[in-house]
Symmetry: none
C-alpha cells in the first residue's frame, strides 16, 4: 500500500479524500462543484488544476486511487490460517477504513462511459499489474476456501469473484434505494452471510 501512497503527492491524496468525503452521503458527482472539492481538500481552486487536468480527471484519479487501496486490502487478506468467512469479515471490516466504499460506488457510477472504458485500459503497467495480483490473491483465497470445504469445488474463480463484486455493489445500490432501511453493520453481516451461503457446497 505504501508503494501506492508513494505514487501520489500529499496534495493529490488530500483531493481524493476530499472528494470521498463529499461523496460519502450519496451526493452525485455532478452536483459536487470543483470549488467544493478544493475546499474539502483545503486548497485553492486553481491549485487543483496544477495536479489534475479536469474535473473528470479528478474522478478518474480518485477511483483509481481507491480501487488500488481496495485491491491491496484484498491482497493482504490472504491468510492461510483464517477461514474463508473470517477473511471476508476482515476484508469487509477494513473496507471502509481508508475510503468509504459507498462513496467509491457513487463515484464509479458517476463515471462517463468513456471514462469507464478508459480506466479499464489505463496504466497498463499499473492497473493491470494490480488486477493480476488481485486475481492471484483471489485464487489463493478461493483455493483455500475450497480446501476447507467452505466453497463448492465446482464453482470456478470467475463465479466466485463475480459473487463478491456483485454483492459489494449490490449492497450500495440497495442502500440507495431499498424498501427497508438497513443498518451499515447489518449490511456487512448480510454481505458475508450472502457470499458464504452462495459459495458453500
Amino acid at each position: 500500500m505504501s508503494e501506492i501512497e508513494n505514487r501520489y503527492s500529499q496534495k493529490e491524496i488530500a483531493v481524493f479524500r476530499g472528494l470521498f468525503a463529499l461523496a460519502k452521503d450519496g451526493r452525485r458527482f455532478s452536483s459536487i462543484k470543483v470549488q467544493d472539492i478544493a475546499t474539502a481538500a483545503g486548497m485553492g481552486k486553481g491549485t487543483l488544476y496544477e495536479y489534475f487536468s479536469s474535473k473528470e480527471d479528478i474522478l478518474s484519479g480518485a477511483i483509481f486511487y481507491a480501487l488500488s487501496g481496495v485491491m491491496n486490502r484484498f491482497e493482504q487478506s490472504v491468510d492461510d490460517t483464517l477461514s474463508f468467512r473470517q477473511i471476508l469479515e476482515r476484508f469487509f471490516d477494513e473496507l471502509d477504513g481508508d475510503v468509504p466504499f459507498a462513496a467509491l460506488s457513487m463515484l464509479i457510477v458517476s463515471m462517463s462511459p468513456e471514462q469507464r472504458a478508459e480506466i479499464q485500459t489505463r496504466g497498463q503497467d499499473d492497473l493491470k499489474l494490480l488486477f493480476s495480483r488481485m486475481k492471484r490473491a483471489e485464487a489463493d483465497i478461493f483455493a483455500s476456501g475450497r480446501r476447507r470445504g467452505e466453497i463448492d469445488a465446482n464453482l470456478d474463480d470467475n463465479f466466485c469473484g463475480y459473487v463478491i463484486v456483485s454483492a459489494l455493489f449490490g449492497q450500495t445500490a440497495a442502500h440507495l434505494f431499498s424498501c427497508q432501511k438497513c443498518e451499515h453493520r447489518v449490511s456487512k453481516n448480510l454481505l458475508v452471510e450472502m457470499v458464504c451461503r452462495t459459495l458453500r457446497p
Copy 2:
C-alpha cells in the same frame, strides 16, 4: 399494468421511453440534455415542460413509472405451479421487456439524495400500495419456495428479498465496472444461479 399505463398520458410515456433509451447504454443523467430527451421522445423541448416541471421531475417520474412496471411484473410472476427457480427465470427474462433494467439502475443512482428521500414517501396511495402488493407477492413466492425445499426455511422474507434486490443492482453495477465483460444472457443465468444457491437450504 394497464392501470399503471392508464395513469400516464401518451406524451409522458413517450418521454419516459425516450429517457430510458438514452440511459440504456450507461449514459449518466447529468450528461443527458433536456433537448436529448425531447428529441428521443419525438417532441419539442418546450412540450416537455407542459408535462413535467423540471428535468429532475422527468427523472422522478420515469423511475416511478418503471418501478411500477417492475413491481407489477414481479407480482404477476406468482405462479404456484412453477418452481422458485422458474419464477425467477421468468421474472428476469421479462425484466428488460418493458424498460431496460440497466437504464433504470443508472437513473436510480442518478437521483439526488433529496429525490431519493422524496420518492420513498411519494404517492402514499400509489407507491405504498404497490410496495405492499409486491411484498405480498414476495411472501407468496418465498413461501412456495420454502414448501418446495428450494429456500432454506430459516431464512425470513427480509433476507430473501434483500438477496434479490442486491443481486439485481449488483449485476448492473458489476456490468458498469467489472474486470471481465459479461454477456447479458450470462448475467441472467448468473443471477438466477446466485439467488438460488444463496437461498437454498
Copy 3:
C-alpha cells in the same frame, strides 16, 4: 365616448379591461403573461391573436383606448358654470372611473421607446383629432380659469398643460416609490391643491 367604445369590439374591450385589472396593483407589463391577459379577459389564449398581432400590440391598443377615454373625459369637463378647481376635482374624481389611472401609468412606462414613438404618430386621423380636441378643451378651461382669476394670466396653455400632466404622472410615480404612504383620496386632494396653487396668480 360612445364613438370610441364603438370603435372596439366587445372582445377587444374585454382584453383591455383585463390588462388594466392586472396592471392596477403595480405589476409590470413584462411580468404579465399573455395567458394572464387571456384569463383576465375570459377567453382563450389563441383568441387574443385573432384581435391583436402581438403582446405589444395589446399594450399599444390598451393605452390608445385608455388615453382616448381620458381625453374624452377631459373634453367633457368643460363647463363654464364651474370654477377651475371644480373642473379639476370632477376630472380627477372620474379619472379612475373607467380605467385605473395607476394602471395606465404603469403600462405607459412599460412601452418600448419604439412604441412610444409610434403611438405619437399613430392614427393620424384618430389620435391627432383627439389631441386637438383636447387641446381646445384645455384652452377653454384655462381661459375660463384666467377669466375667473384662478390662473395667472401670464401663464400660457403649454405651461398649464404641463403642470397637469406632470402632476398626474408624478402622483403615480410618487406612489410607486415614496417615503410616506399616501391615501388615494388624499392624493387627489393633493393633486388639485398642487395644480391650483401652482397656476394661481
Copy 4:
C-alpha cells in the same frame, strides 16, 4: 458621498454606471439583457454574478446606489446663504451629474412590486439613515424658505416634499409620454418654476 462610493467596489460601480447608461434613453429594464449590462460595464457576463445574485439584484443595487447619491446631493444643497429657488436650481442642475435621473426613474418603475416593498425596508442602518438625514435637510431648506417668505408658512414639510418628489417624477413621465417634446434645460426651468410657484405664499 465618498462614504457611499466606498461602500461599493469598483466593479459594482461599473455595473451600475453601465446599467444607467443603458436605461438613459428610456429603454425598459426587461429589454436590457444581462449580457448588455456586462458589456456596458466592460466585463464578462459571469463576472456580474460574482457581485450580484441575479439580474433583479443588479436593479435593486443600482437604484439603492443612485438614490443614495441623490439624497446626498440633496443634503449637500443645504446652504443658508442661498434662496430656496437657488437651492432648487443647484440641486436640479447637479441631479444628472452622477446618474441620469431619467434613467433612475425608468429603473424605479421597472422594479417588481416585491422589490419595491423590499427596498423600503432594506438596510435599516443604511437607507433609513439616509432618509432621516434627507428629511432633516429638507426640513432645514423648507424652514429657510419659509423664513425668506418663499414658501407659504401654512404648508407643512410633507406637502413641500411631496411637491418636489411629484415634480421630479412627473417630469420624467411627462418626457416619456407627452404631447410636446421638451428640451431638457427647459424642463429644469419648468421644474423650478413649478415648485416655487406651488409653494409660494
